[in-house]
Symmetry: C2
DNA sequence: GCCGTTTCCGTAAACGTTTACGAGGCTATA
DNA sequence: TATAGCCTCGTAAACGTTTACGGAAACGGC
């Protein structure tokens, strides 16, 4: 581009190290200290074969001059980036998980990673790009050492790919593609058991549930458990009690509309909602249809920031998302040989329990 | 660690290129084609001095063998990463911006970046880490070529740092630290003008607003415009109408509690809420206090997924977050000389208008 | 005072890419 | 045919870091 200029094009951040001359590399740091770059590197990286006095000198100079190792150089040489990617798809209403959800999980992950100088970045896959292709691109480029994937589909090619290539990863959510890979998931079985039983004991027999319309693996195990619980309580399974939609507010609203359109004696009288956003839309839809949650319909949902402010108070399953993030991080590190000394090596496949917080939304009596 | 093993430690993704041998580099690609690596690189990067026949051969082989350029090597040599970071703080209830908010903005940014082979990652600053220090670390390490920062504080050191070091960036949100830097912000002045005028015309004179308790630069200009509008309508400014809290659901709830504790003739009779989450908590709090939004209190808020399902329907200011992301990306590229041919170079400082969507929440009449 | 050991540090190669430079072959013109 | 110019490609350096290796100095034991 620029005429008469030799060497790599310097724009953006590179300019800091180059023309602007602000940023300092290990080389300048070394000649400032009158030692070799090898010594500086060893001193900074805590290698044993360096005099404590010089190490101190190096560390002080590094701090003073604001030296920070260059990511590209380090990654190129070490073959690892020190970065873990959390893949998520942007613009996606389909995942149904909100950002407070992720932000809280992230925070938990970070607290663990901070102890190991690991950085967490969110790898944002555009809604216009194929997630599988995106993942492969990101992995091949060497963006991260390890990955956390969420919104797992029923058959998730990402899992195949990561397992096949030996990339450390953990999935937030189970998948049928699972052949011994690590995952963490919420206790949907427990939700079904506790939720359905609770409603049955209140006399309900027409208990509605939600099922995702997309291929994401949310609700498969829930459906199974739901059917088992019905069977245990001697209630026949009724396909009309299963509502397929997107797991978000709009989906909840649609469910309400569909319910309102059913003859009253065919409607579900209770609901166990697997997802945290559905209840918000369901409440609104019911009110619009002249039905009152907690009076005309018993609802058990999932806790979330916005669900927390529903009226009547939602009876919901709750868990600490921050703790979920911590467990997630620890489980991921357990798959990485480099951390075997601190996190016993092994494949973690854990179901995270949830706690039922009683509200007033499930007080409705069956017709 | 491993005894008798020379060369860099191979774990994680590096193992793919090394021991596992799955991943192919430019070297193997070159010897597979019987040409030099220089030619391969030129062919792939669309340089002119390469025979079209060989270029075709190279591209085909690259596609067939699944060659993807290594991020570290490329970044090291080019001095640019091809990555733009969107910095955000995890676990933060304080930013007040919700999930769908960012995911939608991200999606808009991506659509622009996709045209330029730019990748967007979210740089997640832990709530336990100082944002300024995090930013400097991330910049110095060379994580990204450019940055988008949000949740700008009133005096935001990040802006100083980025400007001082010549890093391309754009801020989502204004800041007083602003000395000619690019930013995008929502039209809070317009909100105040339209919102306050609307309530005044309905006869309200005690109009409440929210102000953030933290140092984030949300609401400063709003407060100014609010006071100007009061003055224009001949209404004296009443400090008791300004409610300081966190800009989230809980904050809205607290506002409701404070309102309920006020003597009825001192309460605000209308509210213009700058933030999208406040209304959710405010609604809930008002209901709990026996007050009905839209009947006992006129409310104008900001649109969001969850606010969309409030009853009565929230009269709100709305905008396309995806478009906001697109504008954000284009404005950022306009600050980068490398894209001067496509996005005319210049500092963009733009106020994004919002549209008032009428609901029923502002129908309440003043006492 | 010699030798073995330890401690510390400098040297240089390597990671995967991009790119300036130059060399060779070809075409075209004189 | 010689020369100038273009097209194509190979060579090698460079980016910033880590690390294996070897060497120098210091030290202790005989």
């Amino acid at each position: 581009m620029s005429i008469g200029f030799t060497g790599p094009c310097k724009t953006g951040i590179r300019a800091m190290r180059g023309a602007a001359g602000k940023m300092i590399g290990i080389k300048r740091l070394a000649e400032h200290l009158n030692v070799s770059i090898g010594t500086v590197s060893r001193a900074l990286n805590g290698k044993p074969d360096v005099n404590e006095a010089t190490r101190k000198r190096v560390l002080e100079a590094a701090a003073e001059l604001g030296y920070v190792p260059n990511q590209a150089g380090r990654a190129l040489r070490k073959g690892s980036t020190g970065v873990v990617g959390f893949m998520m798809q942007t613009g996606s209403e389909i995942t149904g998980e909100g950002d407070i959800f992720f932000m809280s999980v992230f925070d938990g992950v970070q607290t663990v990673f901070a102890r190991h100088q690991l950085d967490l970045v969110a790898l944002l896959c555009s809604s216009e790009e194929d997630p599988d292709a995106y993942l492969q691109r990101v992995v091949a480029r060497g963006f991260a050492d390890a990955l956390i994937i969420s919104a797992t589909k029923r058959h998730d090619h990402r899992i195949d790919y990561l397992a096949e290539h030996g990339i450390p990863f953990i999935a937030l959510g189970r998948s049928l593609t699972d052949a011994g890979q690590p995952w963490l998931d919420l206790d949907f079985e427990g939700m079904a058991e506790t939720g359905v039983t609770r409603l049955v004991e209140k006399g309900h027999s027409r208990i509605g549930i939600f099922l995702p319309i997309d291929d994401i693996n949310l609700g498969i195990v829930f459906l199974d458990s739901y059917r088992q619980m019905l069977q245990r309580h001697g209630i026949p399974f009724d396909p009309d009690m299963v509502f397929r939609t997107h797991p978000n507010e709009r989906g909840g609203h649609q469910i309400a509309e569909r319910i309102a359109a059913m003859p009253p004696d065919k409607r579900p009288t209770g609901f166990v909602l697997i997802n945290e956003k559905l209840s918000v839309g369901l409440y609104a839809g019911l009110y619009e249809a002249g039905l009152t949650p907690g009076r005309d319909m018993a609802i058990i949902g999932r806790d979330s920031t916005s669900a927390h402010y529903l009226t009547p108070k939602l009876t919901s399953f709750s868990l600490s998302l921050r703790d979920l993030g911590i467990t997630l991080a620890e489980s991921l590190l357990a798959t990485m040989p480099a951390y075997a000394d601190q996190y016993p090596l092994g494949v973690v496949r854990k179901i995270v329990p949830m706690e039922l917080v009683e509200g007033d939304s499930d007080n409705a009596l069956p017709l």
